[in-house]
Symmetry: none
Subunit: 406 residues, 2 copies
Amino acid sequence: MNLDTLYSELTLKTDAKLVLLVLDGVGDIATGGPDSSTPLEAASTPNLDALTQNAAQGRMIPVAPGITPGSGPGHLGLFGYDPLEFQVGRGVIEALGLGLELKAGDIAARANFCTLNLDNSLEDRTFLRSVLYYQITRDFIPAPKANYVRLVINGESWGIYVNAQQFNKDFVKDFLTDADHHREGLPIPPVRPVNDRSAKAKKAAKLVQAFFKMALPVLSKSKPANGFLLRGIAHQPAIPGFEERYRLRPACIAVYPMYKGLAQLVGMKKIEGPQTIAEQFQRYLDEYHRYNYFFIHYKYSDMHGEDGDFEAKKKSIEELDSALPILLQKAPDVLAITGDHSTPCALKGHSWHPVPVLLTSAYSGSDKLDRFTETGANMGSLGVFESKFLIRLMQANARMFDKFGA
Amino acid sequence: MNLDTLYSELTLKTDAKLVLLVLDGVGDIATGGPDSSTPLEAASTPNLDALTQNAAQGRMIPVAPGITPGSGPGHLGLFGYDPLEFQVGRGVIEALGLGLELKAGDIAARANFCTLNLDNSLEDRTFLRSVLYYQITRDFIPAPKANYVRLVINGESWGIYVNAQQFNKDFVKDFLTDADHHREGLPIPPVRPVNDRSAKAKKAAKLVQAFFKMALPVLSKSKPANGFLLRGIAHQPAIPGFEERYRLRPACIAVYPMYKGLAQLVGMKKIEGPQTIAEQFQRYLDEYHRYNYFFIHYKYSDMHGEDGDFEAKKKSIEELDSALPILLQKAPDVLAITGDHSTPCALKGHSWHPVPVLLTSAYSGSDKLDRFTETGANMGSLGVFESKFLIRLMQANARMFDKFGA
């Protein structure tokens, strides 16, 4: 029996309030001998410490042992979707990061500018740092009108998307080859359907080629970049809606577009406005009665981890801790605090290390740990588990599951 | 490769004695801050404590994260059967709870008495607390004789079962709809096969309908209950026999019918007679030479957990601990002590919380923990694992597995 089906069958409605507080990339590693510490350990966190008195702890594996997830799989796991089953293509992630609103059926790609020689061969494909900006508007709509093509170029990232509602989820992954040989000296290859028998992929390939035909002349006089490459052409995946799947009314209180986008992908309501964690918590108080699942995203623990800046990461955790009493003015019935992945300062990037997680509710039990840290979480009752089960534990703590079997 | 197949292929015969001692619902949660404790922690357990000097500990997930199991799935897991693969229907569990001996091919249902109006519509379906007793005997056998129908009504629970040896395991779950609209005002609905193309389900539906036709007139003059409803009509599942699966001769020393029934379902020999845990341990000594796997079931830790009675649960654990030296007069080669699920006093019911487990043998190793408790088990070498693997760890400790690969 499929486990998700079982969970669905056992799910009861609830009025309980559940909060997932994500400290992006919070997990870290101690590297310097017995007295070395992680940012979580080094930080002064009186409010988190107080929560541990009645909390269970553990560590979560975002995808699989040794796998370093991007933000997409990291968050899908936290939202209860198996990141291997529900893959979000790179183009879609890029578009979400730009704050583009993708609709069912849209496809998106990651675009890089490049320099083409007179013979159309690729001279240089390393314009990732260009600051060119270009937008192709609806004026370039090819027939049929319903399938318009748009290129959005902004800062370092660009997206192209094709509205094509007839496309469905068999296109999620690798349905078109890249318009990129991934090396210099050759012309831009035309995209091809990965599966030759898919009529819809063939149609999408034609649309992308039509887009190249229109867009290249627009750029041809630009310098140094007079062309572009497309990679990771992906369809917005068909993901079962969060509300129906979990019987929870979800809202997202995030600052950065990527996380809003990921939340929107599963059908969460985006709450716009707050710019600081204190404002985010304040907004949670205001919206408390409207939703019963809140995803609150805090970016800075990851950002400073990426910079390898231990002090700044530590301080970002302390800043979050200071703001926590605002959230706790209306303490949710179930509160989970964790990261979507670890971002150890020593690695200056995402990593595979299990993420510490704290879960508190009237039924979480207390692991009697003094603090919420990586080494503390190693001793918690939740053990080491896959991130995708976190929401199931949150639901259990909200008493949302009927008993299985007599 | 199927893991059960691998285990089977590697299994060696043994003369070692293995004991699974189940303290039903023993797991609990501490809820009151740093000094709060669980019943296991609060209890004085010198004999369990002594065992920990040479034991491995860990915590077990009965079914899946967040899932609260009934006694059926809880015990099937302990017996090494995946509770999702081998589901036992409610009717079968009820029948086992009544001490009915089900045979392969039997189907069973949960029955409630009800009051029917003159137009046959349902007046009241809440007779769960009736103390009516009725039994329909073989006099009511319909043709063909081989398929007899019997209604057993006793106390609060009743079972109906239909001997129908031609039925097989595709009927285990939901093979017939309920003869119960689950609300008042409508007549009792006829049962229907869930899968219309199953000839066997059709035949079973006819038998149940024939049973209603015979049984309702018998009750028609009774007051206030003059009818009955049937729910959870289930087939006894086809479960691979314990002895063949594990190459162990198993015996069950339990007091309550439900647990004897579950043991019998997998082919264990039921040992009747003992009424107290001391008597159960004494009987183990007497039967020591006849079997090499003993399932010993202790009910009271669960019972007091269900009542939310911390003191009584604590005392029941102390009572078990006091009796433990009887068992240890002939210490088994492998002894596992655990529960089928947690029954926290704070929840007054079964729960999803991982169950502490202690495993001791000449090869278990020592986790050097002072006591057997929830928080101690969090630090054990067994980690957090699914209950269905416990028997495999017991077999490994009995040196029953050949090396896998060269």
